[in-house]
């Protein structure tokens, strides 16, 4: 398959894959940055966006190489969590991204799958890096997570390697419509159930989810959604005795 695509096509493909991995390597930092924007109007606790940006940038550009050199020189200094994130998570993935540029990917499904799984494992290693390790011969809180995290890094590297060494399927096609609307519907339900109650949020979420298919007929969906809402409104609070708000808070008062 790859041969028929021609050399240049494979090369561009690889660049985009490598760029994707670079983005993945910075994903936690970017996520924290977006999250921190919420602190400006005072919604959440945590560091402000400027602090986040500065501390991650210094960690990535200066702190981590410094710590790396320092550890080579035999120094043991307490490193900050941002530097550790750069060291444990981002740098290995940057290396993978660079390596990707020079490889022929024979099974994109395995290779990309393996690398993303590796990112998850590295992230878990970072997340458990602040936990206590072995104390004598008894396990600390962090021993098992680090052990299995390390094992998963090795296994996912193996999967990625099979993607380089043996032929296999290319990347599967992802569609956006189904995931987007189903997730939107779930998110809406989660946010609306407390303030708006079961009846409103269930019906609205049903209609949002129905956007996920282009075959939806709206009248039909509205009728079924109303019936389902009614059924759930009877089943959960009354038949099963699970307490939940039924109507919007401002109406119930």
């Amino acid at each position: 398959m790859a041969d028929t695509m021609g050399h240049s096509a494979t090369a561009t493909r690889n660049t985009s894959v490598a760029l994707g991995f670079c983005l993945l390597a910075l994903a936690p930092q970017i996520f924290e940055l977006i999250w921190s924007i919420g602190t400006i109007p005072g919604w959440g606790a945590g560091r402000g966006p400027v602090t986040v940006l500065v501390s991650h940038a210094t960690a990535l550009l200066a702190g981590a190489p410094g710590a790396l050199l320092g550890s080579l020189g035999g120094e043991t200094k307490k490193t900050s969590s941002d530097v550790l994130l750069a060291l444990i998570y981002s740098y290995p993935l940057f290396v993978v991204a660079i390596v990707t540029l020079f490889m022929t990917i024979r099974s994109a499904q395995d290779y990309v799958g393996g690398v993303i799984l590796m990112a998850l494992a590295l992230f878990a290693l970072w997340a458990s890096s602040d936990l206590q390790g072995m104390r004598g011969f008894s396990f600390g809180a962090g021993t098992a997570p680090r052990m299995f995290g390390g094992l998963l890094v090795a296994l996912s590297a193996g999967i990625a390697l099979t993607g380089l060494l043996s032929d296999g399927p290319a990347m599967a096609h992802y569609s956006w419509r189904g995931p987007l609307f189903v997730m939107a519907s779930i998110l809406f339900f989660a946010l609306a159930i407390r303030p708006l109650g079961l009846v409103v949020s269930a019906f609205a979420s049903f209609m949002i989810a129905a956007f996920g298919s282009h075959e939806t007929r709206w009248m039909e969906a509205a009728i079924v959604g109303a019936c389902l809402t009614l059924g759930c409104a009877i089943l959960f609070p009354y038949v099963l005795g699970l307490p939940m708000p039924m109507f919007p808070r401002f109406l119930a008062q």
């Binding site: 499904q109 936990l131 396990f139 809180a141 962090g142 519907s185 407390r194 996920g212 079924v224």
Partner: protein
Amino acid sequence: MELFANLAHGFVVAFSPVNLLMCLIGALVGTLVGVLPGIGTIATVAMLLPITFGLPPVGALIMLAGIYYGAQYGGSTTSILVNIPGEATSVVTAIDGHQMAKQGRAGPALAIAAIGSFFAGCVATVLIAVLGAPLTKLALAFGPAEYFSLMVLGLIFAVVLAKGSVLKAIAMIVFGLLLSMVGSDIETGASRMAFNIPELADGLGFATVAMGVFGFAEIIRNLDAGAEMNRDLVQQKITGLMPTRKDLKDSTPAILRGTVLGSILGILPGGGAVIASFAAYTLEKKIAKDPKRFGRGAIEGVAAPESANNAAAQTSFIPLLTLGIPPNAVMALMVGAMTIHGIVPGPQVMQKQPDLVWGMIASMWIGNLMLIIINLPLVGIWVRLLRVPYRLMFPSIVIFCAIGIYSVNNAPVDVILAGVFGLVGYWLIKHDFEPAPLLLGMVLGPLMEENLRRALLISRGDWSVFLTRPLSAVLLAIAAGLLILTVLPVLRAKRDEVFTESEN
């Protein structure tokens, strides 16, 4: 005889009106789910977990068990009549079953499937009762090192019997183990990988992950394929349910073989009903005098897999009830249900909760009887249900799942987490990772870690304890042997062959 006393006690429990009702509801819901393509057994059990919270534990587990074997049963109906396997377990049934239906012999095919399932169910029920007590005694002799090795063996079995790449399956198990470690550490109480999110302090909810990875992910995946599936219904009336004398003569040995094979594969961890039905079909084809009949409406091709999947569905309760180790993802959900009701699965359950264990075992027999009585007359209704379009079904499932997850802890964050795991599950499907080992790893994670820690604490940090204790060493040796065998090319080809049966 202790055995009969136990079974008699079980029947007394199972025949109480409430439990009979639970059994009936479970069997009916299970059949319904089995008939409808697009929602698997695991997703349904996960979906209905919250509903069982309000029930007494015995009733709740009877209902969940009913859903499980009811689904095996319902899947065969649609396989035969419309060539749509409602469940993965009845994929092979469709091959010969639908051919029989096309030849106007849908009645006998349905009847044989029902009879085979019922017979297998009876045998499996007795088997659970017989094996229960001795296995429990064995389990009580286990120390932490043995338990850890047993769980390793169980997980390796799960890998060997699963479909697809061995490496990927192991990676999924380890991923599951890691997920199970989110939350408070059992011994030190330290918060692990929770990022100061209060909702994560207690760990990831099992139902949340299961519903995300199996429920939501499945829906999104089905939407990819286009909501409208091709449904050719066999329109003609089903006449004459009774199989002929020749049918019975042909299918009796097949049912027997299917039952034996299914019972064995059910007990083994990891396999369960899916592999049982595939293996039974392959076996019938191999030993048949005229293999060419298969795929053209051979009745053995219906009888064997249907008996095998039902037998396996039931015997997979054995490791759960005796050792407290779930052999497959559905059983892992049963563990979830048990812990929610405050029952810690393990060998002590049989002694401390005889009502629960024997009541559930007896209810399986009753449930099978109910299925055979209810289902054959109701076939028409089940087929009509297939006409419910997916475009209406999928938003309903999404909402139902969302309300269900919310009701577990009244926590909106759980709903969001399930959504996130839905995306994770979608990604897993796209990269050909099997989600079932992940769930198994997640359930066994805390148990494994606890036993590993305890074993090493007792041995004062000496890792060789797993090899010096004989029982543990044997278990690990089997696990290692299995893993090596699977990687060998010859056996790998055989393993793939069993699963590719449905494609040709």
